[in-house]
């Protein structure tokens, strides 16, 4: 059997689990998993791949039962491998009740709320919404290597 150059599949999962540190490590307050928040952003905002940390710029105003900073995602399922693809998906929907959005919004940002710097993870867009006195719910995709919310292929 010949050797084959490869990045191991399990490495991709382990990066999600902070099992490697290629630079000086962050001082972590605990060995437990971090809390990841999801926050809603106006259609007029400019969130994207160049983001580094969460900020309130372009976020829905803290009115109408929305609190800036968003809400914590339920994280009951650890990152896993689907053959060669690492994936992670929140284990429950994100929902805001009795919400009146301060404007039309079309993006949700996920960031690390445990770390003081609030490192940003991802920006997810969807059709623009404007909620009035209602409930806004984001249900999560199937948690596998094809559709999971965060995947490393």
């Amino acid at each position: 059997m010949a050797n084959s150059q490869a990045m191991t599949s399990v490495f991709k999962r382990d990066v999600m689990m902070a099992r490697h540190a290629f630079s000086a490590t962050l001082i972590r307050a605990a060995t437990t998993l971090d809390t990841f928040n999801i926050a809603l952003f106006l259609a007029s905002a400019s969130r994207g791949a160049a983001d580094t940390v969460y900020s309130t710029t372009g976020e829905l105003a803290g009115t109408g039962n929305y609190t800036q900073g968003g809400i914590a995602l339920t994280n009951a399922t650890a990152p896993a491998l689907d053959t060669t693809i690492a994936h992670w998906t929140p284990s429950a929907s994100a929902s805001w009740a009795a919400l009146t959005s301060s404007g039309s919004f079309d993006a949700a940002v996920i960031y690390n709320d445990t770390h003081a710097t609030k490192y940003e993870v991802s920006v997810h867009t969807f059709g623009a919404q404007s909620i009035t006195a209602g409930t806004f719910t984001l249900t999560m995709p199937t948690n596998d290597g094809t559709t999971g919310l965060i995947r490393f292929a």
């Binding site: 009146t100 969807f126 623009a128 999560m140 965060i150």
Partner: protein, 90 residues
């Protein structure tokens, strides 16, 4: 009973519980490869509707923005994937 806005102007929202039979209901469904979105809106049956729409930038699909209850549920079908190749020594 549905909680709707009785008035909404200049950032002011006044909420009111209203019997459902006094309201008209509109459902909108968008279903594509990445999301399935179901929007449900209620408004007074007596509301003049289109008279309110003009000039309201935050009301993409409704029949009124002064008396309304609007909810949405988005089912995300697929997330984000980061991918790339490792560098060969060859």
């Amino acid at each position: 009973m549905i909680e709707i806005t009785r008035d909404r102007q200049a950032g002011t929202v006044i909420l009111e519980m209203v019997p459902e039979d006094l309201l008209q209901k509109k459902e909108t469904l968008r279903d594509d490869a990445v999301e399935r979105t179901r929007m449900v809106e209620y408004c007074w049956k007596t509301c003049p509707g289109t008279a309110h729409i003009t000039g309201l930038p935050d009301s993409p699909s409704h029949f009124c923005d002064f008396h309304v209850h609007r909810s949405a549920r988005i089912d995300l079908k697929v997330g984000l994937c980061a991918s790339g190749a490792i560098q060969s020594f060859k």
